[in-house]
């Protein structure tokens, strides 16, 4: 029941553990240790998908992460549906449910396959050329239709229920790839005393050793040597991470890994993350990524049953699976012979070996002949037959470049080998320079940029002997380099270099790049280069005929190498075809850029824990819980969550809307008392003998003469003269200022101050400390605020004479030490009570209780905004936009004219700041007092002027003012102050709104309410 193509014995599967799984609704069986691909093949299932563009039937091409065809959807439940997984990497588990993609209604009868009939009319660039007319149709019609037809899997529609974690880790030597070179590297680096991490994308470390059935190392069978080596590494403390893909190489040796933790389990422990993102910082990296077998580009090389030869051998030796009953081998390298011999031994009939080489020599052809295999030199596969599975190959002799008549050879598998391509993806991502190696016909790592080295097949050192030796050498070097400046004890660093006694038969370095000759009508022969993106040799030839010379342009025009497989199987052959078309050598064509990720990576690991409540810090004040209990509505202000307004239940038990709540809160402050949580204000303590001098230089205002105990409104500019921030500053002592900033500006202002202090004026004896979170700030505002606070305060006289507006005193309130500010952003008698944050809630509650007899009303940021707008007080970032000078927003008075210099002063004398058409702060009153303008709306001079209408300014703040019984607004208007009294218009979809320009102070312009 576990498949008729399973060998009776052998492989690394657990034949005692049969697993049931489903593919496209049918139930099959495999073994523990299978991949979905090997289990399907064991059941004789080759047809696993439809291609992207032509919907051609496709089978399993490879046995690893280079697989371009066998993309499947794996489903655990409605929310856990993962599309586009490579069946070659999906580990089998009991109950696995997988489905093919890109087909309708079924894989065998796919309606989209009609595209294949029209293929001659769907060449490269077809979309660019065809869907250009009529204008606008692309967006409305063609693109949606094409998108509906194309694409691979479908994304699940439910939120991802799994967890993903992110980790930082460090090591001396990171070894990427646990094949022979990687394991030897790890052995050497570990022996050298280095902290080593060894990662491999497969479920089991070992790489090619897992399929090395006939090799021996140090007199042991290779697989036994592997087990011993892994045990030795583990005992030495090397961290071995299987199922872990190094998908990105980032600057300064930061390697990103994706570790698949639970994906292979039938019943994952939900406490475990599905995947982990590792950001590894390695002192040295050894890339031992191996090499990828290259397909041959011949007509109909995409039929199910056509497979890479080395992959077929892997299926046999590692999984005990025969890829077919009768195979034709098409090869340009000795590896095809090795596959043929192993498969023959495993019970697969070898119909013939078609060798592209004219005179294959050496032990491998000899051995094949000795085994009675039909070896045919100078022979190509010029085509295949079969609908959903290959049924025959057309073998033809090539003589002097001409392809002779074809002989049809029946078979159910065509196994091809064009040689190997070193996997240089990660090296290339590290910005290392590649060089063309003529002997190997391959790009190899030539010059490193990062602290890394490649070892083994990924730098062209093919064969077990070379890989082990090269890997060990690289590991030794990496450890020595990593530890050369280390104080760490040498450990076993003195160990003599290790040599491995290898008995193995290597398969040489031959290969072929490009499209093989086939002698057929090129318009109808589909020889695939990029299986995943359905790019044929003909498409690439067409691109060069149409004038594309740069390989980067050919890539984009034909989309070859742009699929999710990152060109693993297609890049080199595409280069070969372009080179042939242009009559150039391959290295002259150049190489496209390899980009991360090496294999597709879930979004989940990039999000990690940053979702929901942990997406960003949600900063709340010490008083937040009180506001929450009171039913406040909140609004986000930078990372803070602030009480926006406090709706109360009105008549009939209905909750007030914001408009009603704000109107009530405003009335309470203007006529009684309100309480407001201002804790989010930025605070900086400026301390030292030169504190006043530093303040003089940082702010426009003069500070030397501000007496301790007094407050001043300060304006801070950037060096370019534009308003950066503002806030009230209290002088607590000759050498101590308590500076406040805007909520959003706190960190920016501190950084700005530190910049000047550290780099321009390091001689000043002054230091800056952020105290934003030290103090809770409780604003108590309104004519009754003094009466509310007086009974709670110890050691501070709150009377007008002792504590005039803009003063600060230290004392106690409700038993807690306080810095009590008398000031008002509402234009009333008011106080801001600073208490240590830990006591903020208790003091707030004490004040609220004391205020209840006075009808104290908690109010939020909306009311705060309305009250300040009534007074014409600006908010930096609302009235200002980074191009406002102090005078533009009516703050010319805050500039210390006598000061020789301060940050931004020189810029204020630039001519641009004196232009008459600068935008200036004004007030706006709508002709209809009930109309509330939209913030951001534009102002124009005439209601129905011809287009284009000159814009004169814009509305910056707009509210319904309960105090004034009408709407008010602030605006920045060109030459605004000179226009006061004029009428302008706000054009809106419903028609222009007439507004009168007025002074921006709408309420108590003389400030009498503050002077009490």
């Amino acid at each position: 029941m576990t498949g008729s193509f399973r060998t009776p014995s052998g492989g690394r599967i657990d034949r005692t553990a049969a697993l049931a799984f489903r593919f496209d609704g049918a139930t099959y069986h495999g073994f523990a240790g299978d991949t979905l691909a090997s289990a399907l093949l064991a059941n004789g299932v080759h047809l696993v998908g439809r291609s992207f563009k032509y919907h051609r039937p496709r089978g399993i091409l490879s046995a690893g992460s280079d697989e371009p065809n066998a993309l499947v959807e794996v489903r655990r439940d409605d929310a856990r549906i993962t599309p586009n997984l490579r069946a070659t990497q999906v580990e089998l588990y009991e109950g696995l449910e997988a489905a093919s993609q890109n087909r309708w209604p079924s894989l065998a009868r796919d309606a989209g396959a009609v595209n294949d009939l029209f293929a001659p009319f769907l060449p490269a660039g077809f979309y660019y050329k065809t869907f250009m007319w009529p204008a606008g149709a692309w967006k409305r019609f063609y693109e949606p239709k094409i998108r509906a037809m194309a694409g691979l899997g479908k994304a699940p529609t439910l939120p991802d229920p799994d967890r993903y974690t992110q980790h930082y880790a460090h090591c001396d030597v990171l070894v990427i790839g646990a094949g022979p070179a990687g394991i030897a590297s790890a052995l050497a680096a570990s022996a050298g005393g280095a902290r080593v991490i060894l990662v491999d994308e497969q479920a089991e470390p070992g790489g090619s050793l897992l399929a090395a059935t006939d090799a021996a190392i140090d007199t042991k069978p290779a697989t036994q040597w592997l087990a011993d080596a892994l045990a030795e590494l583990t005992a030495a403390g090397v961290v071995i991470m299987p199922r872990t893909t190094a998908f990105g190489y980032f600057p300064h040796n930061m390697i990103a890994l994706c570790e698949r933790v639970t994906e292979h389990l039938a019943a994952p422990d939900r406490a475990l993350p599905r995947e982990r993102l590792w950001q590894i910082r390695a002192k040295q990296v050894v890339i031992a990524a191996g090499a990828l077998e290259r397909p041959l580009v011949f007509p109909e090389n995409d039929r199910p049953g056509v497979m890479l030869a080395e992959s077929a051998r892997t299926y046999l030796t590692r999984y005990g699976v025969r890829p077919g009953e009768r195979a034709v081998i098409f090869t340009a390298a000795d590896s095809g012979y090795r596959a043929a011999l192993d498969l023959a031994a495993g019970g697969v009939a070898i119909a013939a070996i078609a060798d592209l080489r004219a005179a294959p020599e050496g032990e491998w052809p000899a051995r094949a002949l000795a085994a009675g295999i039909d070896v045919r030199p100078s022979t190509v596969v010029a085509g295949t037959a079969g609908r959903l599975r290959v049924k025959a190959a057309r073998l033809a002799k090539v003589k002097h470049g001409a392809v002779g008549p074809a002989e049809v050879v029946a078979c159910d598998a065509v196994l091809m080998s064009g040689g190997f391509t070193p996997s240089v993806h990660l090296f290339s991502q590290s910005r290392g320079k590649l060089a063309w190696d003529e002997t190997l016909g391959a790009y190899l790592p030539a010059r490193s940029v990062e602290r890394e080295r490649s070892a083994g097949a990924c730098r062209g050192r093919y064969g077990l002997t070379a890989a082990l030796a090269d890997g060990y050498h690289a590991g030794e070097e990496a450890a020595a380099e990593a530890l050369k400046d280390s104080a760490r004890p040498a450990g076993r660093r003195a160990t003599a270099s290790r040599a491995f006694g290898v008995v193995a038969r290597d398969t040489g370095t031959d290969g072929f790049i490009g499209a093989v000759p086939h002698g057929r009508n090129p318009a109808f022969a589909k020889a695939f280069v990029d299986w995943q993106n359905d790019v044929t040799a003909k498409d690439i030839a067409l691109a060069t005929r149409e004038g594309f010379r740069s390989i980067e342009h050919v890539k984009r025009y034909t989309t070859t190498g742009m699929a999710t497989d990152q060109g693993k199987t297609s890049n080199m052959n595409a280069l070969g075809i372009v080179a042939e078309q242009l009559g150039e050598s391959v290295p002259k064509i150049g190489l496209t850029t390899f980009r991360p990720p090496y294999t597709p990576t879930t979004f989940g690991i990039f999000a990690g824990a940053a979702r929901g409540d942990l997406f960003d810090p949600v900063r709340v004040t010490p008083i937040h819980g009180w506001a929450e209990a009171r039913g406040a509505a909140f609004e986000p202000v930078s990372l803070w969550k602030r009480a926006h307004y406090f709706p109360e239940k009105g008549d009939g038990g209905r909750l007030e809307d914001m408009h009603a709540a704000v109107a009530r809160e405003c009335r309470a402050v203007r006529s009684g008392v309100g309480i407001f949580d201002a804790s989010t204000l930025g605070k900086i303590e400026v301390v030292g003998a030169d504190a006043a001098e530093f303040m003089n230089r940082m702010y426009t205002n003069p500070w030397s003469k501000l007496e301790p105990g007094r407050l001043r409104y300060g304006v801070m500019l950037r060096e370019n003269g534009f308003v950066m921030d503002d806030g009230v500053v209290g002088r607590l002592a000759p050498d101590r200022f308590h500076v406040t900033t805007t909520t959003g500006g706190a960190a920016r202002v501190l950084a700005h101050m530190e910049d000047y202090l550290q780099t321009e004026w390091p001689d000043l004896d002054v230091w800056l400390t952020s105290t934003t979170e030290q103090w809770a700030v409780i604003a108590v505002q309104g004519p009754k605020s003094r009466e509310v606070l007086a009974p709670l305060v110890e050691g501070i006289d709150l009377s007008k004479g002792a504590l005039p507006n803009m003063s600060v005193r230290e004392g106690r309130i409700a038993g807690v030490p306080t810095r009590l500010f008398r000031l008002s952003f509402a234009g009333e008698l008011g106080f801001e009570v600073n208490v240590p944050a830990a006591q903020g809630r208790a003091v707030w509650e004490a004040i609220f209780k004391a205020g209840e007899p006075f009808g104290i009303a908690p109010y939020g940021t909306e009311t705060m905004h309305v009250l300040r707008a009534e007074k014409g007080y600006i908010i930096v970032g609302q009235e200002t936009d980074g191009t406002a000078a102090p005078d533009d927003v009516g703050l010319g008075w805050a500039i210390g004219k006598a000061k020789k210099d301060f940050v931004g002063k020189r810029s204020l004398s630039r001519a641009a700041f004196f232009m008459p058409d600068r935008k200036q702060l004004v007030g706006l009153l709508t002709r209809d007092p009930a109309v509330v303008l939209e913030e951001g709306a534009q102002l124009v001079a005439a209601p129905n002027a011809a287009l284009p209408v000159p814009m004169l300014g814009h509305v910056t703040s707009s509210y319904a003012s309960a105090t004034l019984g009408r709407s008010i607004a602030l605006a920045m208007v060109k030459g605004g102050r000179a226009r006061i009294g004029q009428t302008l218009y706000v054009p809106m979809p419903s028609g222009p709104i007439a507004v009168e320009l007025v002074d921006p102070v709408f309420y108590d312009a003389e400030g009498a309410r503050l002077d009490v």
Partner: protein, 96 residues
Amino acid sequence: MLIITCPWCGERPEIEFVYGGEAHIARPADPSALTDQQWADFLYNRTNPKGRHAERWRHTHGCGRFFNAVRDTVSDFFVATYKPGDARPDVEGDVQ
């Protein structure tokens, strides 16, 4: 993510630092004595070299100190980092 050697704290990840623009541009002692052109040069004009660039960094989420660095803008590797007030070091050769 780059590794930056803070002159006080040693090698630390870039995420702890904030970039501060070109180094060794002193604020003029008497800005009012400058022409508009000279002031604009100070405010806006930078060398933006291809290759070795002296620049300011602040170890904001570390010791909080500003310091200077020479970085190769082509390779993105640091050649040297040094304390403010120190002269730009004369470092030859490739640095990784």
